[in-house]
């Protein structure tokens, strides 16, 4: 009974997933449970397997072993576009906009051909963040922060229930940072689930309700920000012995 009650709250469950690249064990028997409607953080030193975990979840990599259960279905090894259409969107550590396309086109391109209201929706999203002026600008000409924002807006173009953000605040000025945080807030209010990783500890501790700590491809700690902060293994991973 209690098992199924818990299961309904979990939108994404990663079960004992491992991934090896040649001699490097990027992810080692890692398990995560992401609760619907909450902001969950993944932290850990560089090279601890956070980005690989994101790539495994979104289908860019196939796990060597383990299961990834999304909305009750094992998605391990499915194509990225299939997983995306199941309602999972993501951003990348370095922004990956379509450089030779305009801002407006970057937003409309990912919608299906039958979706007639794409332009209107895109214009509305741009207006919400005060970016209307940029709509006909090539994405490659935007500043880094602007590109991050457009990448965020791209996630609102399709029905994403789970949003994965890979280091969204890295290299972003404080004004942009505020805008990004506002957008995350908006998603949470809409009932979307957010899974993100970042090195900005202050923001992560403030934003996340639950945090997983990675080190050498394994989950070494999990809990509320408070619990994680007080965990001696986390201190060790971050500051060494």
């Amino acid at each position: 009974m209690s098992q199924s009650a818990v299961a309904t709250d979990i939108i994404l469950e990663v079960r004992n997933v491992s991934k090896r690249f040649g001699g490097i064990q990027a992810v080692n028997d890692a398990s995560l449970g992401i609760e619907r409607g909450k902001v969950t953080g993944v932290i850990g030193p560089n090279g601890s397997g956070k980005s690989t975990m994101f790539n495994l979840i979104t289908g860019l990599e196939t796990p060597d072993s383990g299961q990834i259960i999304y909305k009750g279905e094992n998605i391990a090894g499915k194509a990225p576009h299939v997983i995306n259409r199941m309602g999972m969107g993501r951003t990348f550590q370095l922004t990956r906009l379509f450089g030779t396309m305009t801002v407006l086109e970057n937003l409309t391109v990912i919608t299906t051909d039958s979706f007639q209201g794409a332009e209107e929706l895109a214009e509305k999203l741009l207006a919400n963040l005060g970016l209307t002026r940029l709509k006909n600008e090539y994405a490659a000409n935007l500043s880094y922060g602007q590109q991050k924002l457009v990448e965020f807006l791209r996630l609102s173009m399709i029905e994403s229930d789970l949003i994965l953000l890979d280091e969204p605040f890295a290299g972003v000025n404080p004004v942009m940072e505020k805008k990004l945080l506002e957008q995350i807030d908006m998603w949470v209010k809409e009932g979307k689930t957010v899974l993100l990783t970042d090195h900005e500890m202050a923001i992560m501790m403030e934003l996340c309700e639950s945090i997983y700590v990675f080190d050498y491809g394994s989950v070494i700690a999990h809990g509320t920000p408070q619990e994680v902060r007080e965990n001696p293994r986390v201190m060790e991973a971050y500051f060494g012995s």
Binding site: T58, G99, T100
Partner: protein, 356 residues
């Protein structure tokens, strides 16, 4: 001191937005109508052309239309989606042979033969494209080079069907002579009959142009561009990249296929060396790069300009024009990598519109 002169962060941010904002000129929204007008004028002129032009002019125009068809169709996958393909010669040759052999063995009349050549190339492209389009960039290009070569070798060695290296002679089109007291209507009918290959190529080129406009202005076209810009991001954003690439590749193979069948009938004799020649691919690539990859106008403008220039050069020296093609590729890549259209856009003569 410094705080009073430097703007607040929010103001800085706004300035940043203003500095890069690009506005389309007002007349951009009439581009579609301008194209329609140009298309109709060109169609009337070209339909009328054989009425009182020399055979040389008609053949030269047919060549322009042929190159236009090859470059425009090459552009969909290789310009918009960035997957450089060397398969044009392969499909041109296969289409020529399907069309020519159907006529040679008297299976069908010439118009169905042309359509069957297109259909055959579509099916072959689908079969070849689905596995090879999983390859990226240069690997796909090399696979297509191999495909063209392989097609040539198969046609050459399967001589029980294709007559091998002897080539295929096609039935001669019997030209009608002007009768006495020919009425105007009879003259039109005779012109149409005597220039049926020209009119077929004109129709094919017109369809290619229309299709190019549809691709270039549709969300499908944007999907192709997204594959060129960042295929991994496109996949992660839910775009079915393999499906988009394979169908575009197969759709664009129809055009060199049909063009090949018309060309075969026009020249009356084909052999593997001429119709599978790499120069067909090179012409499609050079023309598109010169005009502008991934644009609607690029391959069309390129076909007209380059074919006429190379014809003039050909008159001087038949071997020189291949050198000219090589030189044009190098110069364009070095000095105007986006081609003519992008150069005009940089100087704000043309708007940065998807309809260009």
């Amino acid at each position: 001191m410094s705080t009073s002169t430097s703007p607040a962060p929010d103001q800085m941010h706004q300035d940043e937005l203003d500095a890069t904002a690009y506005r389309l000129p007002g007349w951009e929204k009439y581009l579609g109508w301008a194209y329609l007008a140009a298309f109709i004028v060109a169609a009337i002129v070209l339909l009328w052309l054989p009425m009182n032009a020399k055979a040389y002019t008609v053949t030269l125009t047919l060549t322009v239309l042929l190159v236009l068809t090859l470059s425009t169709s090459w552009n969909w996958l290789s310009g918009f989606a960035g997957y450089t393909s060397f398969a044009t010669a392969g499909f041109f040759g296969i289409g020529s042979y399907i069309g020519a052999l159907l006529l040679y063995y008297e299976k069908v009349t010439w118009i169905p033969a042309v359509f069957l050549a297109g259909a055959g190339c579509f099916v072959i492209a689908l079969l070849v494209g689905i596995p090879t389009l999983r390859l990226r960039g240069p690997y796909f290009a090399i696979a297509m080079l191999a495909f063209s070569e392989l097609s040539r070798v198969i046609v050459l060695s399967w001589d029980s069907l294709t007559l091998g290296g002897n080539g295929v002679y096609l039935p001669i089109l019997r030209l009608q002579r002007p009768g006495e007291n020919e009425t105007f209507w009879e003259e039109i009918q005779r012109t149409f009959h005597n220039n049926q290959n020209y009119y077929a190529m004109l129709a094919l080129a017109a369809v290619a142009c229309i299709w190019s406009y549809v691709v270039g202005t549709s969300r499908w076209g944007l999907k192709l561009l997204s594959i060129r810009d960042d295929e991994v991001a496109a996949e992660s954003m839910g775009i079915r990249t393999t499906y988009v690439k394979a169908t575009t590749f197969a759709g664009s193979a129809i055009f060199p296929g049909m063009a090949g069948a018309i060309y075969a009938r026009h020249v009356g004799y084909i052999d593997p060396v001429t119709v599978f020649a790499i120069i067909w691919t090179i012409r499609a690539i050079t023309t598109t790069i010169f005009g502008g990859r991934g644009t609607i106008l690029g391959p069309i403008v390129g076909a007209v300009v380059l074919t006429l220039v190379s014809e003039k050069v050909w008159e001087q020296d038949p071997n020189l024009y291949q050198v000219i093609y090589g030189a044009i590729i190098i110069l364009v890549v070095l000095f105007m990598p986006g081609g003519l259209t992008s150069l005009l856009q940089r100087y704000n003569i043309l708007p940065r519109s998807r309809r260009i």
